[in-house]
């Protein structure tokens, strides 16, 4: 069942479209990612879901409610972590958590949450004195303190060190496992492939792909990259005729072939036929990075 429905949303700023007909639906209990380059319209899209912006056209529903018209009811079931939003400079961590938990009818235990996010040693620290990572963690805690059904996290782990990032990912998985739906805006591929059940790739205000992370990867033009240094030179025409090969490059004696699983087998038999040894043979799967670049580049060329 879809808990967030975005249908044909358009939003322009001063005549320039930021979001140009975006549609997607987020199912209850999933982690849904919105991926895209900077300025693609990701933040504007989630701001429409949060009810912070009114779409020029199209509809948004959160649990069947309009985030603008039913703003009050939506805020009770939606927690948000905004990009670049701050708190009062002199408010302490404990005060902020206590304040925000007072806003909700059925708040979570903010002390447990703070402990989970490693903020319990910082209760008396003022917001302005926190490090970037600590501010980020506080902002995640505040998004979760109201016991929301849906949580929107915009640039979740920006500013976190690798350790804190991994801890945060674990927290988000736990949040999902407790039945909360997560809408995640990110530009980290690793984050999207690790966390998301499904991903919408947004570029220039449009959804260019919507799939599982592995579905997106297999869609990428070149799913497999084979590279090796042959013991003897190989015939170029033979290489070009390899099944599934998208591109073949020779670089200082090293050959790099973009292709599919089929290409891998063909390369191996080709080498065997010519009794050539392949030094430093590497076969790598394309990553979400490659898929992302393919998808957003295709759009740019169009």
């Amino acid at each position: 069942m879809a808990i967030i429905e975005v249908n044909g949303v358009h939003k322009a700023y001063a005549g320039r479209p930021a979001v140009d007909g975006v549609s997607f639906a987020v199912d209850e209990g999933e982690i849904f990612g919105i991926l895209g380059p900077n300025g693609a319209g990701k933040t504007t899209t989630v701001e429409c879901v949060e009810g912070l912006r009114v779409p020029d056209a199209g509809t948004v529903r959160v649990a069947g409610l309009d985030p603008v018209a039913d703003h009050d009811r939506v805020t009770r079931l939606l927690g948000a972590q905004l990009q670049e939003s701050e708190l009062q400079p002199k408010i302490t961590v404990a005060e902020a958590l206590e304040l925000y938990s007072a806003f909700y009818p059925d708040p979570a235990d903010w002390r447990a949450l703070a402990e989970r996010l490693g903020l319990h040693t910082k209760y008396g620290t003022r917001f302005a004195k926190l490090s970037g990572g600590q501010k980020q963690r506080l902002s995640i805690a505040l998004a979760l303190v109201g016991n929301p059904k849906v949580v929107i996290l915009d640039e979740l782990t920006t500013g976190l060190d690798p350790r804190a990032r991994r801890d945060t990912w674990k927290l988000i998985e736990d949040v999902r496992d407790s039945g909360v739906t997560v809408l995640l805006v990110t530009h980290f591929m690793e984050e999207a492939s690790r966390l998301c059940d499904r991903v919408a790739v947004i570029d220039k205000g449009k959804v260019v792909a919507l799939d599982t992370p592995s579905g997106l990867v297999s869609r990428a033009g070149s799913a497999t990259v084979i590279s090796f240094t042959p013991s003897q030179p190989l015939d170029e025409t033979e290489l070009d005729q390899l099944p599934g090969a998208v591109s073949v490059e020779q670089n200082g004696g090293r050959i790099v072939i973009n292709g599919t699983d089929e290409t891998v087998n063909a390369v191996i038999s080709l080498l065997a036929r010519h009794r050539i040894t392949a030094h430093q043979l590497r076969v790598t799967e394309a990553t979400l990075d490659d898929a992302f670049l393919d998808l957003t580049e295709a759009e740019q060329a169009a």
């Binding site: 805020t75 708190l87 005060e95 007072a102 806003f103 209760y123």
Partner: protein, 258 residues
């Protein structure tokens, strides 16, 4: 100040009470603001009172002393310091830092934050006014207002117009820097019309007539009248009420949440 342990679990406060409590704590953490609102007006009165000639009755003032005139002036100074000097940078900062936006995603509207700040600055201004009158009475023997109801009414109207002006200032300035800059200029103009440099009562006729249509010129005349035991003129009260209504209305219309 701050402690390492969180506050004990008490009955969950209502959201608005929680906002007011948090903002009160934050308000008390601004020593600069507290000094200018609560200490400076009384300090200025004290310094002026130390000038011997200001404590002598003056025939040109109808037998009153300069220090008598400076009590209402210092009261108005407290209002200006709170409403124009201290409040606008805080409110614009809340907008600029995305604090209001963040609150828009919670069940409590960001107007709760603004309301709390306006109420706190109003309360501080009135507290400072009380302090000024106490110092005037205790140290320089300035009589308490002869017409207390009229005085309080004039005070409340002056507070309403200064807070409205402060809110309008935030609505008009996009950044904290702009609001501080506009605030500084507005501060000087307000201080002049309130009679900080020359009490309104001693201004030349034409100047006084002009100043009387400004909120603080009107307030100064109204407070002066009530201090001497008369009912403040309805014209002056009306001028203040009109200013309060117009600036508050404009501020509400023009305010941007982000």
């Amino acid at each position: 100040m701050t402690t390492a342990t969180p506050a004990r679990t008490t009955a969950t406060p209502t959201p608005w009470a929680a906002v007011l409590r948090a903002e009160t704590r934050l308000f008390l953490r601004e020593p600069g603001g507290l000094f200018w609102i609560l200490v400076f007006p009384s300090a200025l009165l004290t310094i002026l009172g130390l000038i011997p000639s200001f404590r002598d009755p003056d025939d040109a003032l109808g037998g009153r002393r300069v220090i008598d005139l400076y009590v209402p002036v210092s009261v108005l100074l407290a209002m200006i310091m709170a409403g124009i000097g201290a409040m606008p940078p805080i409110l614009t900062g809340y907008r600029e830092r995305g604090i209001l936006r963040r609150m828009s995603t919670t069940p409590v509207p960001p107007s709760a934050l603004l309301t709390a700040q306006i109420a706190l600055h109003g309360a501080a201004a009135l507290g400072s006014a009380a302090l000024v009158m106490t110092v005037g009475r205790a140290v320089f023997g300035v009589r308490l207002p002869g017409q207390p109801f009229g005085y309080v009414l004039a005070l409340l109207l002056a507070t309403a117009s200064v807070l409205g002006l402060g809110a309008l200032l935030c609505a008009l300035s996009r950044t904290t820097k702009a609001s501080s800059a506009i605030g500084t200029v507005a501060n000087l103009v307000m201080m002049f019309t309130a009679g900080v440099w020359i009490p309104v009562q001693t201004m030349p006729e034409t100047l006084r007539r002009i100043v009387e249509v400004t909120p603080f010129g009107a307030a100064s005349q109204a407070l002066d009248r009530a201090a001497s035991g008369g009912w403040p003129g309805w014209v002056q009260l009306g001028v203040m009420a009109l200013w309060a209504a117009v600036v508050t209305g404009l501020a509400t219309r023009l305010f941007r949440w982000e």
